[in-house]
Amino acid sequence: MTKSYAILSCNGLDKLAGSLTREIALQIAEQTGSEIICPTFYRVADARYNKLAAEKPLLVIDGCGTRCAGKLAAEKELKIAAKINIAEESKKHNIEIGSGLRLGENELQLCKLLVDNFFKEELSKEASLEKTDQVSMPAEIDYEIYKKDKFVFRLPKEAAFYFTENDCWVYVVGNKARIGVTDFVQQSLSDIMFFTPPDIGSEIEQFGEAGNIESGKAVFEIICPVSGVITAVNEDLLDYPEYINENPYEKGWIAELQLTDFEGDKELLMQFDEYIEIMKRKVDEFHV
């Protein structure tokens, strides 16, 4: 039996994707005994849902990139346990959503697919996952620290760390690597609420997308510093995305890869001495 959630869907009434979020919420609720939060009512009278939101894991369903439900969850400081975004899923599965306001054949097909996938993912989450991360990191990392106001920006000095101008890092050991984001990214995003990992086994080009991290402010695409095949993801971040805020170089790492062309990738990577100057300049211009 899949666990029961508090479901917060955007319910956007002027877009078909919004109606679809409601339909998916209903189907998941009916099959799991989950309870639905009305976003409109929640905004004006949150006492109605505070207990529910505190007791049950939260499933957020957004229709489009505006992420009204996700932003509402951030506003109410709720932890998101699972998330569905209809626009992203529609693209991923190549099922187009119509321009009218009533659910048609395509939308119901997408609905069924997303509900089925949701339950499949739930089952695979329940199955015990073997830890396959293999890149061993130094027990203690030596950091350079740069501050602006109350914000602290660390940067590891070890030579095995490389950086990109998009503020992501890679730590290389032989033909394997671990990747993550820098303090500049996590400070810019502030409290990270959700991590969408890259798929294990997927091949990513240098600067390709290696998952996303999301705060109340924005969705940040993790821009992969190297090309390779994803061999592991930091599963702890699925439950504790805030680890990225705590330390994005250690317990907030993102994924590991088998490298495919590090010599070629290196051309567009920087080491500490070069990147620290870029980071300092960005920090000096930084405003929250």
């Binding site: 877009k15 505006t66 969705v219 051309e267």
Partner: protein, 97 residues
């Protein structure tokens, strides 16, 4: 202030900025609110009320404004072609040094 180079390549040589699909854009201006680099400009009195004013302010490989777009009206150049192009320009710059 925006960067004038990206990986040592003059920014204006790299074609990286959002393209607005005006058939889809509903002028919600979420992208404008989001982007801290003044890539966009709002022109209330024009037919196209939103334009890409400063494409070279756009951070190369960043597509974050696209993720704020409800109607999915923003698209970006191909990343691997852009990477290839940056490497080519760097080689040209090295050989002309």
């Amino acid at each position: 202030m925006s960067e004038t180079t990206f990986m040592g390549v003059p920014r204006e040589k790299i074609n990286w900025a959002p393209v607005i699909d005006y058939d889809k854009c509903n002028y919600c201006m979420e992208c404008v609110k989001f982007c801290p680099h003044q890539v966009y400009e709002v022109r209330e009195n024009d037919e196209k009320r939103l334009i890409i004013k400063n494409p070279n302010n756009c951070v190369v490989f960043c597509r974050a404004c696209g993720k704020t777009c409800g109607p999915d009206a923003l698209s970006f150049p191909n990343k691997s072609e852009t990477t290839k192009y940056i490497k080519e320009i760097r080689k040209e710059m090295e050989s002309s040094d």
